[in-house]
């Protein structure tokens, strides 16, 4: 089946010379959850924002392929891209507390989406908004529509953001760390909600997270990002069963597994931080933090197939 979103060799550079994304490729199919994992600063959010064409001014984006259905996102005008955003592609963000406009009611901000893309009346928009608020588990939707963001808790605001993203029944939902700012019980509710909605609407979900617990629970496919590159990708099952890249293994070692991780030993950790990558960088960006680093890591490291539907960028993978 043709993927809903297909990206090949995406590169994003900032004005200061930083290469934030260096050749990311990924695909998301209908009804599938693709998790983009990695630590802060690895380029996950930039990848997501590039897809939406919402990068800050001064950032340059290029890609061999960037396709949403039959739309070529690389050549789409700003105007046409704006018509796609909020309609067929929607996005929710990490910061529910600040992502809603404090000056307008929930109802106004939700209805606006439908008014813009479907040219319907305010009343129709509010009706749909109330439906969706109910759908995302908000009680008394009528009352909430008339409220302002500051009258709602963080969890409620994130539900509003999700409901707002669904106003036009998008085919692709990009969720950038949607539960990071929320407490654990609310996190679980939001994730369950996303799963239900996905099943029901056949959403293609690109879920960005640094939390492997969330990946294990949500993902069918996983791409592990490090320093602007996808260092390992594959089906969630393959990746958890046979993690190959030392970075992926390092990430997994950081997470305790009840009943498996020995109680009397410290959890794994990866020393150091993600390096800043300038132009012209060659080799594996992880080599300075890697226990298995060898001279070959300083040269160009090719992407190699580990198994069917599972590949990694590492010299340890046999060619």
């Amino acid at each position: 089946m043709k993927p809903v979103l297909e990206i090949e060799n995406l590169r994003v550079g900032f004005a200061d010379g930083t290469a934030a994304v260096r050749g990311v490729s990924l695909k998301v199919a209908r009804g599938e959850t693709h998790c983009l994992v990695g630590e802060s600063g690895c380029g996950k959010s930039v990848t997501a924002l590039s897809t939406m064409n919402l990068l800050a001014r001064g950032a340059r984006r290029s890609a061999d392929v960037m396709r949403f259905h039959d739309y070529d996102l690389t050549s789409l005008s700003d105007r046409d891209m704006a018509r796609l955003r909020g309609d067929k592609i929607a996005m929710i963000f990490q910061e529910p507390m600040t992502s809603l406009n404090p000056a307008y009611t929930i109802g106004s901000q939700m209805a606006e989406v439908l008014e813009r893309h479907r040219r319907v009346s305010r009343a129709k928009g509010l009706e749909r908004a109330a439906d969706l608020l109910g759908r995302v588990g908000i009680t008394a939707p009528g009352m909430r529509l008339a409220q302002y963001p500051h009258q709602l808790s963080g969890g409620l605001r994130q539900r509003v953001m999700i409901a707002m993203a669904l106003m036009c029944e998008p085919e692709l939902l990009i969720a950038d760390e949607p539960t990071t700012a929320l407490d654990v019980t609310v996190q679980a509710q939001i994730l369950r909600l996303l799963q239900e909605l996905q099943r029901e609407l056949g959403l293609a979900l690109l879920l960005i997270t640094h939390d492997l617990g969330i990946v294990a629970r949500m993902a069918q496919r996983v791409s592990v990002m490090y320093a602007g590159q996808v260092v390992e990708s594959g089906s969630a099952e393959a990746l958890f069963r046979a993690p190959t890249h030392p970075y992926t293994r390092g990430l997994l070692a950081c997470v305790p597994i009840p009943g498996k991780t020995p109680r009397d030993q410290p959890l794994g950790s990866i020393p150091g931080v993600v390096p800043r990558i300038g132009p012209g960088f060659v080799g594996c960006a992880f080599r300075d933090r890697c226990a298995h680093a060898e001279p070959a890591c300083g040269g160009t490291v090719p992407r190699r197939t580990v198994a069917a539907d599972h590949d990694a960028v590492c010299t340890m993978v046999p060619a």
Binding site: L54, R85, M91
Partner: protein, 305 residues
């Protein structure tokens, strides 16, 4: 909302009272009023008579209560200079000053807000810097000078606009422009700063993710949040324009409240001075209340807190 307004109104009322006391006290501190009314050639008996007739021999608190009670009922006393009721003098001149102030503010807002928005949207570009430079020049230009330049060009050389008086609405354009010039830089910079902050906020990213048009993003979502400090400062600027337009009223030969104030201060016509100070203070208080109310309409969080 009602509670918010009520609280503000109580606050405004207490400020009013304070202003009454200060306005009264200032005129009594500026010398023996009976002497200045009587003039240089008066005998001490004349002064004593005047003091008695004007009630200046009574204790100050009594004089104050008397004056305040009269002022509250609209009787602001009589001018010694014009030998006419103060309220009438002010009523004649107030429309001119109001017209001047409002045209000044309108011109200022219509210039400063679009420039501020443009500057914010093109932050750091040549255009942004050019706008900032023009604003700086505007601030540095003395208003009497700008007024005279305008009179020479548009009044005398091109003869597009009347050089004095406000018999027609065109008469307000030049003095309004001069007044506006002093307010534009501050309003422009506030708009710019507010818009830059608003445009980089998370809710604007959301608005863009919703696919809204640029016009809606900038004018609906960002401007409303950037407008609050602009509203507050515009209110103060209008108060300043109403009270501080003496120079401009002189340049354009307009007999407004500013001119009246200057005249009465120099002649120690204290009932007029008191009345003008009181009037301007009331206008300031009224404008602040208006600005607070407008901000509460703009930002729902203020209504609760």
């Amino acid at each position: 909302m009602l509670q918010f307004l009520l609280r503000r109104a109580v606050l405004a009322l207490s400020v009013c009272l304070t202003v009454l006391v200060v306005a009264f006290a200032l005129t009594r501190l500026s010398g023996d009023l009976a002497v200045s009314i009587a003039g240089p050639n008066a005998t001490s008996e004349d002064v004593a008579t005047i003091r008695k007739n004007y009630g200046l021999d009574r204790p100050l608190p009594v004089q104050f209560v008397d004056w305040a009670a009269n002022a509250a009922s609209g009787d602001l006393g009589r001018s010694y200079l014009y030998r006419a009721p103060v309220s009438g003098l002010i009523r004649e001149r107030l429309p001119i000053t109001l017209g001047l102030g409002l045209s000044g503010l309108t011109i200022a807002l219509l210039t400063a807000i679009p420039l501020g928005i443009l500057s914010a949207m093109r932050e750091g570009t040549l255009l942004d810097r050019a706008i900032g430079l023009v604003a700086l020049l505007g601030q540095a230009m003395p208003s009497f000078w700008l007024g005279l330049i305008l009179v020479i060009w548009f009044g005398l050389k091109l003869q597009w606009l009347p050089i004095s008086g406000v018999d027609t609405w065109q008469g307000y354009i030049m003095p309004g422009t001069v007044l506006a010039f002093s307010a534009i830089p501050a309003l422009m910079r506030l708009t710019r700063a507010g818009m830059i902050e608003a445009l980089s906020s998370d809710y604007i990213r959301t608005a863009r993710a919703k696919g809204l048009s640029t016009a809606s993003i900038v004018l609906k979502h960002a401007l409303r949040n950037a407008a609050m400090p602009v509203v507050s400062v515009a209110a103060v600027q209008l108060g300043f324009m109403l009270g501080g337009s003496i120079v401009i009223e002189t340049v354009f030969a307009l007999h407004g409240v500013g001119y009246l104030a200057w005249e009465s201060i120099s002649k120690n016509d204290f009932p007029v001075v008191q009345a003008v100070v009181l009037l301007l203070a009331m206008i300031y208080i009224g404008l602040t209340l208006l600005a607070d109310t407008m901000n509460a309409v703009l930002d729902p969080r203020l209504r609760a807190g």
